[in-house]
Symmetry: C2
Subunit: 332 residues, 2 copies
């Protein structure tokens, strides 16, 4: 294993430290609990927290900032954040209007967020509520999940709900309703060309032959729908996108946002090849594209491959997607 | 080789097509010449063009937009753009005030930009001038280069010169002077953990043992200064950063912008570990950090590793770095 790391145990904390040092005016951390939170002043808004295992960067610590998340709880690589980290994060970011937890559907994450909610209720506050995100159409149940998994579609939830809370100051119940509505309208599926390698294990998480791909792979290397022979991009991306389209289903006349999400080790040039294929398909189906997002949004360490997400839009979603966010992950 | 591609020969055009389809209001292309240019109206500014082989994305087609480049000429993977593409791009983007070519120092790119300049002079316009960028401190001469190579520091040149032209409308001579001044103040060096694989060859460009790293690697896999045994991040990043700091040199009291640039296959989490190390070093040296840029800015396909760039700042550079750019590569 060759990575830009020191000791495997220190990977998450050193990454979070780099993130805070690179954004000293915007972010603070509680390092021993791996909490990243906004330092800029904000008032009179429901706070938004997401959390999950690390290794999916920029998801989710790199989305903490004005117009998106107020805090992120980072677990160890591919392991849930702790109960007390979630409790502390909620207390740190609450401004008296409550906290919404946005949680991708993995059993460990759900359990800890649920226990944190119970503990906060027992302690008398802050007031919290949770929305579970489960956009992955690949499989019903999975290694770490009952029901569908939450993957890159969660980014649309963070963005839309973050903008709503920041710009329009609605209450916790309205924000929860909006988050559920976004989740109801987003679908995703991905595939892997190459497994990821966790720092602790030091070897690939799953075996994939030199000529094989895993269709519907999970964000931690969980098995997908099928293992197929490697194919040209046109065929792979069409299969993935068909599965996404058929699921909601997205139909002629719909307006969508498209996300092509790299899994960490795939160059952005290849992601744009995938984008071209998806956009041609949508044009043929007369599904209107409002905006296309192409980048590494929700990754699996150094896994190679990508996912396709579609979000069916309404005017509110469009307005909130276009609202500016000031987040640490950026170019210029 | 497993990549998200169709035929190796179609990789660049399909990528550029995806880029334009994803940004239909902002970008246009001349596909047979692999020119990407701004579609939004702009007037009364010197136009800025960069060009080089493809495979370094987002450099440079993904930086075409308001406040940065007006066009990019993309060659085939790792090969210079053609003479006539450069000539045509200059004619497309010129608004009567001339065109500045920003060219990373590779022999093939220089030759074609130089011939294009001569041809445009012979044809009577537009008026063009060229600045060669050579920020890589690793080696003096290299496989494809006489003198130092141009690497990620070029992004600082594009950004600062792009903002100056867009916001302040200076003439070609002033803009050239500014580009040279940025180039004089930026230094970079990188290293590889793993070679890239070009679509055409289908196997790694160079051999690197399972326990080896290439210090000072070039953007096309050219040999660097030394091949060393793999080391903890603290040691690798310190060596790279020391080489960068000693070269200008950057000294106590200087104010800098820092760029940690992924080479394409390295997850952003690891880049932030590198960022933390660099920022700690600069703090110890009492070199003040104005802003830190961490992402894949100038890559080598799927190469793993990163580079560190430092730019010594003045008030003008700071103002222009902070000026907004509207470019296709983005998050939200």
């Amino acid at each position: 294993m060759k990575k830009i790391i020191n000791k495997p145990d220190d990977v998450v904390n050193e990454m979070l430290k780099g993130l805070v040092l690179a954004n000293p005016e915007k972010l603070s951390a509680v390092y021993d609990k791996r909490i990243i939170y906004r330092k800029d002043p904000y008032l009179n808004k429901v706070a938004i927290i997401s959390g999950s295992g690390s290794g999916h960067e920029p998801d989710q610590a790199f989305y903490v900032g004005r117009g998106m998340l107020d805090a992120a709880c980072a677990g160890p690589v591919f392991a849930a954040p702790t109960l007390d980290a979630i409790v502390d994060a909620a207390k740190i970011v609450d401004r008296g209007r409550g906290v919404l937890f946005l949680v991708k559907n993995y059993t460990g994450d759900r359990a800890n967020f649920e226990m944190a909610s119970e503990m906060l209720e027992f302690e008398g506050g802050p007031n919290v509520d949770t929305v579970i995100i489960n956009d992955d159409v690949a499989v019903k149940d999975s290694t770490y999940t009952a029901g569908r998994r939450g993957v890159a579609g969660a980014m649309f939830v963070y963005k839309i709900v973050g903008a709503k809370s920041e710009e329009e100051g609605v209450n916790l119940a309205s924000l929860k309703k909006l988050a559920m509505e976004v989740n109801d309208n987003v679908r995703s599926m991905g595939f892997a060309l190459k497994s990821c390698t966790t720092p602790a294990k030091g070897s690939p998480t799953f075996d994939l032959g030199d000529d094989e791909i895993e269709m519907g792979v999970g964000l931690h290397g969980e098995p997908g729908r099928q293992r197929l022979k490697h194919m040209p991009a046109n065929q792979i991306i069409k299969k993935i996108t068909d599965s996404v389209i058929e699921d909601l289903p997205f139909i002629c006349g719909d307006e969508v946002a498209v996300m092509i999400n790299g899994l960490g080790g795939t160059p952005i040039g290849e992601l744009y090849i995938a984008a071209g294929i998806v956009l041609d398909m949508l044009k043929d189906l007369k599904i209107k594209v409002f905006k296309t997002y192409v980048n590494n949004f929700c990754t699996s360490l150094d896994m190679e491959g990508c996912s396709v997400s579609l979000l069916k839009l309404n005017e509110e979603f469009k307005r909130l997607l276009e609202s500016p966010a000031d987040i640490p992950v950026r170019y210029f």
